[in-house]
């Protein structure tokens, strides 16, 4: 396959960026998007140029590292699929494909296709955890959790933290990410003792760095973990609940 790539090149956060056109002549349908970039970079290095910086690690759609915008769509054309699982079999010979970084005010570009997603971690630090010290946990069998409840928690816990939801959102909101976090914990009994406290901390961090949600739902279409739209609603719900609970932690 012959694929023409228009790749966003930006040497550093401060420097201006632009699209540069490259051609990969020997692409194959089995190639994933990062493999196509591997091939391109091999070509660039051979020719004495500077390869395209991009992030990817597990290449199994689990680590959440990869994440670029392909033809204006975070991750690529196949819905709910991470960049590393977007394969060229979904493109045609001769296609022109545009690759650029996740675009969002909260994710400044570091270099080429690499962005800084540390704002997501600051949301977690706002309270997205359970405060139990190592070794102090009760017997997990003493806490009965129904099959359905565990499955529901897992539906939300599946978030891989890639940030595509933020990049897809016209407002740059992180409600799918933070709503998944809050719902995961509020569904499980172990997350209840500090449910309100968590909601306040997480929402404060979200509001500090991300845009407001307008429930467009673009986030859901690109989410590789299939996080349901209910997560978005949960952010306000958890916040309202916390407000009703006044100063209490749970």
């Amino acid at each position: 396959m012959r694929i023409t790539l228009e790749v966003w090149r930006q040497p550093s956060a401060q420097a201006p960026g632009d699209f540069v056109t490259y051609v990969v002549d020997d692409a194959t349908p089995e190639m994933s998007m990062p493999e196509l970039l591997d091939r391109l970079n091999d070509q660039i290095v051979e020719a004495g140029g500077e390869p395209v910086a991009f992030e990817s690690d597990c290449r199994e759609g689990i680590c959440g590292c990869c994440g670029i915008t392909v033809d204006d769509r975070p991750h690529g054309p196949v819905a709910n699929t991470p960049t590393c699982q977007q394969h060229l079999r979904n493109f045609s010979d001769g296609d022109v494909v545009r690759l650029e970084p996740f675009r969002s005010a909260a994710f400044p570009v570091v270099k080429d296709l690499v962005v800084d997603r540390s704002a997501l971690d600051r949301v977690v630090r706002g309270g997205g955890f359970v405060s139990v010290d190592t070794g102090t946990a009760p017997d997990a069998e003493d806490r009965q959790i129904t099959f359905r409840r565990a499955e529901k928690a897992l539906d939300f816990a599946a978030c891989i933290g890639c940030g595509a939801c933020v990049a897809a959102c016209p407002n740059g909101a992180a409600h799918l990410f933070s709503g998944a976090l809050l719902t995961h914990f509020s569904t499980l009994p172990q997350g209840r003792p500090e449910r309100s406290r968590r909601a306040r901390g997480v929402v404060k961090a979200v509001e500090a760095e991300f845009g407001p949600c307008s429930t467009y739902g673009e986030c859901v279409e690109v989410c590789p973990a299939g996080i349901p739209l209910a997560a978005v609603a949960a952010v306000n719900k958890e916040m309202m609940r916390a407000a009703w609970r006044r100063g209490s932690d749970d």
Partner: protein
């Protein structure tokens, strides 16, 4: 012949295992460990390298105790560490069911599974603490699978006949890793842990055999930074990526561990590298890895090949009587759940005998037809849904209607930095946790023991053994930044980066890495021979020579430079690869994943030699010119088995 003489050191290494019954060793060790009082803890700085389950767990637990912790990860977020990908499950010796499981059976399965090349007392500790691991992970929010009645649900894995694996669908590693990374963030928010992301540890400051700090590179700016420490934990994962095509994440590497080895830490059993039987086969030239399908699939999937060699009919056109369910035939007691080394070897045999399937004839079938007929598609979806999706994503085939194709792929490293019972390496104050270490798995790791060992090390072992070490160093200041040992180490680390940038050749490091992988698969793969290993050593030395004369690293060291990162890692793999082959060449027996064709039974099973080889080899680095280390020196630690007597493994 490449290897004439391997230097051997005497006397044997002391693993500092408490004397007496290994079953109670941990209990006694904890009783005798020295303590650091809560008020003194904040005076100590501990560096933890890596934020996978072992690293996050250790950093968080030590932070909770009140130590001053600095955690390093080369990722942009702690959650991305490769523990995230161990999806199948986590074992625990809780023995709640009436299927005959117990702590002792866990130990027996693990020691036997590892072909008696693990340290028995370490395995007991692993089993004992496994109970608390499940409780802790559940408490911090890992949504473990539950029964309809609300209790924890389990399944079984290869090499065992009980059901002791706890799981969260096909996302166990992900859920545990994310939970552990969040407890780490909790400590960051509390101010006890400083988390430094996108940093790569390049070297260790060692004076008088004792570690005093690390030298790291900020991957985004290229800045070199020094962090002095009273103790350092390397929780940096395994080195399977040396094979290039492996189930490991792309950036997984051996560098921090290898640099520690160069500074004097012994490297144990480098040749023990597990080939996972259910990896996806390599199908194209630019393929970057072999994706792993969880071993849990073997609970319901049946493995087969066509009886007739070269049969290239589509799988569904091959009638039942023309299929060879070779694992069920050869190992009736364990069948498709035979341990990984045995399943991998059996697959390789079939493929080499011409029964391989798929376009490149390099795989075997993993078929869910019968399970779907028996249980219905819905149940299979519930059990393995995301794995099936992943398979479909990777291959474009629907595994619900066409059998999956799988092949052995380089996976988990059972070898790693040698450490004593306290997880301390041969460098004082340098501790190791998780896959970067060596103790539990012997020559073959059982499925679902990897997440467990990382959790136990990080959360329940190191928080005991590190204070024990630190208690002897109260009120000692950190090494100053202008100490000659620090400046020398910084100079060494920068010199190495500059050397890579200055080669000025034409070839990118990935090409060397791919070639190294081919050499290793051929020479040091599922089956090894003396001649093949000697040849591999020659080829590796030659490749290393070409690397250092024809490498091209574009750009500079003062920016985000992924080619420079890769080159540094490949340079280390090129050195490690030789040590792997030397170890495999030296170990004149077969055991677990180390299968030497000159040591097999008449049925083609591994033939161990306990009289001569019941020990772990731990290699000492011998310096040499750039890229050409000298012949390593072999130390050894004898292994004794009190609770699980030495016996021939038999899974029939």
């Amino acid at each position: 012949m490449t290897i004439l003489d391997i230097p051997r050191a005497e006397p044997p290494l002391d693993g500092h295992t408490p004397d007496g019954d290994p079953a109670t060793a941990w209990h006694r060790a904890k009783l005798h460990y020295k303590q650091v009082s809560p008020l003194n803890r904040r005076k100590f700085t501990i560096v933890v390298v890596g934020t996978g389950l072992a690293g996050s767990g250790a950093a968080a637990a030590l932070g909770e105790l009140g130590f001053n912790v600095v955690a390093y990860t080369f990722h942009d977020a702690a959650r991305r560490a490769h523990s995230v990908a161990a999806q199948g499950g986590i074992n625990a010796a809780r023995g709640r069911k009436v299927d005959g499981d117990s702590l002792d059976r866990f130990v027996k399965d693990t020691v036997k599974g590892g072909d008696f090349r693990a340290r028995e007392a370490d395995v007991f500790r692993l089993a004992e603490e496994s109970v608390r691991v499940i409780d802790h992970m559940d408490a911090i929010g890992a949504p473990f699978a539950r029964e309809y009645g609300g209790q924890l649900r389990t399944r079984s894995f290869g090499g065992v006949q009980v059901s002791r694996t706890y799981y969260t669908r096909g996302q166990t590693g992900q859920q545990l890793q994310v939970a552990a990374a969040r407890t780490l963030q909790r400590q960051v928010a509390a101010g006890t842990v400083e988390l430094r992301t996108h940093r790569e540890v390049l070297d260790l400051v060692v004076t008088d055999g004792r570690v005093r700090g690390v030298v790291a590179r900020d991957l985004r700016t290229g800045a070199i930074e020094v962090q002095a420490a009273h103790a350092v934990v390397l929780a940096t994962g395994g080195y399977g990526k040396a094979f290039f095509h492996s189930t490991l994440a792309h950036n997984s590497n051996v560098s921090a561990a290898w640099r520690a080895h160069r500074r004097g830490a012994l490297f144990a059993s480098p040749s023990y590298l597990q080939f996972h039987p259910t990896a996806l086969p390599v199908s194209s030239q630019w393929q970057s890895k072999t994706t792993l399908m969880s071993e849990s699939l073997r609970n319901d999937g049946r493995i087969w090949v066509p009886k007739k060699a070269g049969d290239d009919r589509p799988a569904n056109d091959i009638p039942e009587e023309e299929r060879d369910y070779y694992l069920e035939r050869k190992y009736p007691a364990y069948g498709n759940l035979a341990p990984r080394d045995i399943s991998s070897r059996a697959a390789r045999e079939q493929i080499e005998a011409g029964h391989g399937v798929g376009p490149l004839k390099n795989s075997v079938y993993l078929d869910f037809r019968d399970a779907i007929q028996r249980l219905g598609k819905k149940i299979i979806e519930q059990r393995y849904g995301n794995l099936f999706e992943m398979y479909a994503d990777c291959t474009g085939e629907d595994p619900y209607t066409v059998p999956m194709r799988i092949a052995p792929g380089a996976h988990f490293s059972m070898g790693g930095l040698w450490s004593d019972y306290d997880m301390q390496t041969s460098i004082e104050g340098l501790f190791v946790g998780g896959e970067a270490g060596w103790g539990y798995h012997g020559a073959n790791r059982l499925g679902a023991n990897s997440l467990l060992s990382a959790c136990v090390d990080g959360m329940f072992t190191l928080p005991h053994t590190i204070p024990n070490y630190l208690a002897g160093h109260l009120n000692e200041p950190l090494l100053a930044d202008d100490d000659p040992a620090v400046t020398q180490t910084v100079a060494d680390a920068t010199g190495r980066l500059e050397a890579l940038l200055a080669v000025g050749g034409k070839t990118g490091s990935d090409r060397f890495h791919r070639e190294l992988g081919e050499i290793l698969y051929r020479g040091c793969g599922v089956a090894r021979s003396k001649g093949g290993l000697a040849q591999a050593i020659d080829e590796i030395r030659d490749l290393r020579h070409r690397f250092w004369s024809d490498l091209r690293v574009p750009g500079t060291g003062r920016e985000l430079n992924q080619e420079l990162e890769k080159a540094g890692r490949v340079a280390d793999y090129l050195e490690l690869a030789e040590l792997m082959c030397v170890d495999a060449y030296d170990r004149d027996e077969s055991c677990g994943a180390h299968f030497r064709v000159d040591h097999q039974t008449r049925d083609g099973e591994a033939l161990r030699d306990d009289r001569n080889w019941c020990f772990v080899s731990a290699w000492e680095h011998t310096p040499g010119p750039l890229g050409q280390p000298g012949m390593p020196v072999r130390h050894h630690e004898p292994l004794t088995f009190a609770a699980v007597p030495l016996q021939t493994r038999n899974y029939q």
